[in-house]
Every structure is written in C-alpha cells, then in structure tokens.
Amino acid sequence: MELLLQQIIAGLATGGIYACFALAVVMIYQAIDHFNFAQGEMAMFSTYVAWQLMAWGLSFWLAFGLTFVFSLVMGAFLYLVVLKPVQNASALSQIVAFIALMCIFNSLAGTIWDYSVKPFPSPFPETALFGALVTGHDLGMIAVTLIMLAGVFYFFKFSTLGLAMRAAAQNPESAQLCGVRVQMMTALGWALAAAIGSVAGMMVAYKVFLEPNMMYSIILYGFAAAIVGGLDSPAGAVAGGFLLGVVENLTGVYVPGGSELKLTFALLLIVVVLMFKPTGLFGHRVVKRV
C-alpha cells in the first residue's frame, strides 16, 4: 500500500511535466485547429532566452516576465511571417512548415548556445517533501500549471476575445462574416500558445536540464496527454498529463518487465482511450455540417 502511494505521488510529479506542456498543445489547437510540431522547440528556444537573461544577471521572475512577453511577440511574428502565407495551403504543406520551424529552432539554439547540458534555476525551495518523493519544485510547477489552466479556462469560457478566437479557429468563414478579425485572432492564438509554451519550458527545464533536444520526448508525452484528455479541453489535457505520469509509473512497478515497457503502456493508453472515446476523456463531440 505504501509502495502504491509512493508511486502515485512520484507519478503525479512526473505527470506535472506532461500536463504543463499538454496545456500549451491545447492552446495552439484551439487557435489553429492543428497540431504545431514546432511547439516544443519554440518553448525550448524561449527557455534559452530566459537562461540568457538570467546569465546577464536578471532575477528569475524578471527574466520569466520578459521571456513571456518575448514569446508573445515571437508567436505572433511567426504566424505573420511564416504561416500566414501558407494558411490556405493543404494541411500537409502546413505540417511541413511546422517541421521546418522545428528544425530551424533546434539548430538555431544549438548554434547560439551550443549543445552542452545547462542547469536551469528553480524559483521554488529545493526541499524534499512527503518522504522525499516530491520536491518543492514539483509542487510549484503543478501550482503554476493549475494557475495557467484557470487562466486559459476563464479566457475561453468567459471572455469575448476567447469566444471570438474559438470561432475563428473552428469556422473561419462564418466568424469573418460575424465581424471577427480572423487573422488577428489567429495571430493572438499563436502568441498565447508560444507564451504558455515558454512557461512550460521554464518550469520543466529545472527538472530535465536545458539543452536543444530537451523537448523531443516531452512533446511526445504532451501530445499524448492532450489526446487522452481531449484536444479541445484544457482541463482534460492537464488531467491527461497527470494520468499518463501515474499510469506509466504503476506499470513500471506492477507489470512484470514493465519498467522496460513504460512508454509502450503510455501509448497503449492513448489507443484504448481513442477506441472508446475518440474525442478524449474530457473532449466534446464535434458535429460538423457537411
């Protein structure tokens, strides 16, 4: 029983990483109705910017704020310069543009800051809690994720801007006819997604260390968490992240040979969820008029 509890708590701590990033995935999906494969690398790049600011002597929270603003601008800029020209092209062309962005950010970060592993500071106390199962940083990261979740939830549910953005993503033509400035909304969506990604990056970088490839595996789990929870549900994505962390840990302990098959079980979870609930555990059914 104690082992079970230990593994659940440790799983929640890891799940916090996935949840944080899944939220960023949902944000961009809400804004553009696609996955953005460059999301992880954009977050990584923002995290490097924060690292650089701190290397120049700024405090954590000041660097955090400046990076957040930088990411907002970077997101909108990328949309206007790179993606706007291809937005009416096929989905495949857009995906190619995302993958190109991914490679560009990865190489750019490697060229500017080299490929060595760098430590990233945590603003939270380093004390170990609950019999050393989680650290102050784990709790702080989970708290930041939940605060962001509340913000995103409020934004989409209760603000006019959020509503306009959802409309612009789901049905651009009708939205335009209703007076929504679709391109403006999409640019704003990119900006917010990049900013949320940068927060996720700055939170997980302490745990996984900063290097140009730090997001490769996290983005996989982030997508998985978002799919399990439901791509149109921020709360679902966060829940999906925690669920993934716990399931992964429990299979490692209770399934024979499970510690070698953790990733397999996590991905199996996605298949099972999609078989029975194609829109994810918390997703809404979408009815499209043909």
């Binding site: 440790a10 490929y115 430590p119 199962l133 595996s217 789990y221 510690s259 990733l263």
Partner: protein
C-alpha cells in the same frame, strides 16, 4: 548525384587496379605498401567536425598538432607523417564515403582514431576487406578486438566490459556486503555494461544487487527511477547513464537525500559537462575509473609528462583548451601510433604495421596514469586494460585506488 560520382570513381579505381595488375603482374605486392613512399607515410582519420557530436572534432585537431610535432622532430625512420583528417558529422554513411576516399583516392597507409561505435561499425568490414589497418578505434565496444575475424582492426581505450569488471572487482574486494542499485540506459550500451558487471560479480551478483532500473532515452527525466532505487535500500549506486540523464540522476539522488557510494560510468565523468550542471557539491564523492592523466589535477602539476604535454599545447595547438581531456586523449593516441610506426621497421608495410600493433609489451605512453601501460599480442587486441578508481573531491578527481588490471575482458 553523389552516388553516381562515387560509383564512377569506384569503377575508375577498379579499372586502374586491373590495368596496374595486368601491367606489373604483381598487384598484391604493390597494394601492400600503399601510402608509404621514400619520405612520407600517409595516415587517415575521420572525426565529426560538424553536427551534434562536433565537440569530438577537437580530437582531429589535436592529432594533427601532435603529428606536426613529430614531423618537426624528423618523423619516423626518415619519413614524415602526411596526416589527412576528414569530417563525417557522426553519420555512418558519411563515414563509409570518407573511408573509401581515404583508402581509394588518397591511398593512405592506415587510418587511426576514427570516432564512434556506429561509425566504425560501418567501415569495419570494408577496412578488413581492403586490408588497410583500422587502428585505435575510439569506442568502448568489445568488438574491436577480434584478431581472428578482423585482423586489421584494433581498439585502444579500455572496453566498457573492462570498466564494469574493475568496479565489480573493487566492490567484491572491499565491500562484500554491498547492497547495489543500478541505473542503466535501456539499449545495447547499457545492457552490455550491466551484463559485464553481473559477470564480474560472478555468483554473488544476485545476492548483492537489490534493484536494477532501466531508462529509455525518450524519457524526459529519470526522477522516478532514482526514487525507486533509493526506496530499495541500496547503499551502492552503480550509475550507467549518459549525458543529461547522468546529470539528472546525480542531482535527484542528492535532492531526495539518498547518499550511496556512487560509481559513475567513465564516459559521463566529465566535470564541465556533467558534474557542473548537476552541482559540484552534489557530485562530491562520485567514483569513476580513469586511465589517462587529468591535466587539471594538481597532483600532476610538476609531472614531467604533463609539462611536456603543456609545452606541446602551447607550441602546436595554442588555440586548444587545456582543460579539455580530448587533448590528452589525442596526444596519447598519436604517441601510440608513432610507437607502432617506429616498431614496424625501416620499410613498413600494412602487415608490419599490424604486427607491430599486435606486439606491444608493457609500452609506456606519455599521459597514461602510473601503472597503466599498453600490452597486446597476436590474440590480444585490447591495448589498455588497466584502470584506476578516482573520486571527485569537489574540484577534480583524486586517486582512490591503485591501478586495477582486469586483463582480457
């Protein structure tokens, strides 16, 4: 396009060889001493100067600087070394292309110090088919020492297996009641390492090992593995992890207050790139195995070999970083090659080079640790099989045990 050019050149090479064979009627004899003229010996090398492994390109630069020093001193048996170093970006197909260029176009006498396991793997058969020595492969895999099957290939550094056996022997000798927890990378490297370590512990393995935790390179972090190892009650931590996973595991163990005796695989025992990001204080007490002198270690401050090495750095490689261990590695590797060429006779051939490489008896090479020498034989293609345990004291690795020789793996 590349392929077509390649193929054209290979057809041309074949044609040329056929013509030569027909003209002289003594093809094999001519091929035997390829790359060796009256006053030069051509030596090839391939390392990644570009791409994500480009940090290792440093080895090529240092080798070049070292051969330049020997050339200035008059070379070997009156011949200068013509050193050609090419870039493969750590991509095996590119390694094949460059090896073929070196062997067929540049006609080198031998290639030395090619970096990496997958890259050397890609040219292993080719070099042996061509009968051109592939010497002092930079990789810890055991496969570079199979003289009966691959008589033209030889490793240099201690194999991963030798390192695993050194730790196992130390634990058996000094910590007979150890409770061991192991973290390993779930791939060929980690599994082979684990197997060799268990082999070293012999029939005590199951009694001493409490927990084994694998991690995937796709895992974002190894935090949960470390929590499990700590919970197992282990007091000896054998850490077989690479790059950022090594950094993460060192910090996490410390963070949760787990203070075992930690053995860290030597590929990760880099102060600058692994321990410093994890925290120097957190890394204090980590034990690893070494065979080269650490140029930053104050105990060697007045060491004659180290001073000579520093003078070489100043004169021939002034832009090089003296804290970078690759510069020590390349220096020792180049001295080994020069020893082999010296022993290969007045008129060396590919065969005499391999015979000399396979016939070293307690050869002392500058910058190897005291007690570490090179010994090979016709059926022993593992040059260095001695390691010394060292312990990190917060600034550098200090001596922890005498040199441990584990002989053949």
């Amino acid at each position: 396009m590349m392929n077509r050019t390649d193929c054209a050149s290979c057809i041309r090479a074949t044609l040329a060889a056929t013509v030569l064979l027909a003209a002289t009627g003594a093809g094999p004899a001519a091929a035997e001493s390829q790359g060796i003229t009256e006053d030069t010996i051509k030596i090839g090398n391939i390392v990644p100067y570009s791409g994500s492994a480009s940090a290792y390109g440093n080895i090529g630069e240092a080798l070049k600087a070292c051969f330049a020093m020997f050339n200035e001193k008059g070379g070997v048996h009156g011949r200068k070394i013509d050193f050609i170093s090419l870039d493969d970006g750590y991509s095996p197909p590119k390694t094949v292309e460059q090896a073929r260029r070196l062997v067929e176009r540049d006609k080198v006498a031998a290639i030395v110090d090619v970096l990496g396991t997958p890259t050397n793997n890609a040219i292993h058969d080719y070099m042996n088919r061509k009968k051109i020595p592939q010497l002092f492969v930079i990789s810890g895999a055991a496969k570079w020492g199979q003289p009966e099957k691959y008589p033209w290939t030889m490793g240099w550094q201690p194999t991963n297996s030798a390192e695993a056996h050194v730790y196992a022997r130390y634990i058996l000798d000094t910590l007979p009641e150890a409770k061991i927890g192991i973290l390993y990378q779930n791939d060929d490297y980690g599994k082979e390492w684990l197997e060799e370590f268990r082999d070293g512990l012999g029939d005590r393995a199951d009694a001493l090992i409490l927990a084994e935790e694998p991690y995937e390179t796709s895992d974002p972090s190894v935090d949960s593995q470390i929590v499990k190892l700590a919970a197992s009650g282990a007091d000896v931590f054998v850490n077989i992890s690479l790059s950022k996973f090594a950094t993460q595991s060192i910090r996490k163990a410390n963070e949760i207050g787990w203070k075992p005796l930690q053995f860290l695989n030597s590929v990760s025992a880099s102060v600058g790139s692994i321990l410093e990001p994890a925290g120097l204080e957190r890394s204090t007490g980590i034990i690893t195995a070494q065979y080269l002198k650490d140029a930053t270690d104050p105990q060697f401050a007045d060491d004659a070999e180290r001073k000579e090495w520093e003078a070489w750095m100043d004169k021939y490689y002034p832009s090089g970083d003296k804290t970078n261990s690759f510069n020590v590695f390349a220096y020792a590797g180049c001295h080994t090659m020069m020893h082999v060429l010296q022993e290969a006779g007045e008129n060396p051939t590919q065969e005499s080079i391999m015979t000399a490489a396979g016939n070293m008896k307690d050869v002392a090479i500058p910058m190897l640790l005291p007690g570490v020498t090179i010994t090979t034989g016709p059926d022993d293609f593992y040059p260095i099989e001695t390691l010394q345990l060292v312990r990190f004291n917060g600034t550098f690795f200090e001596k922890y045990s005498d040199a441990i020789d584990v002989g053949k793996p």
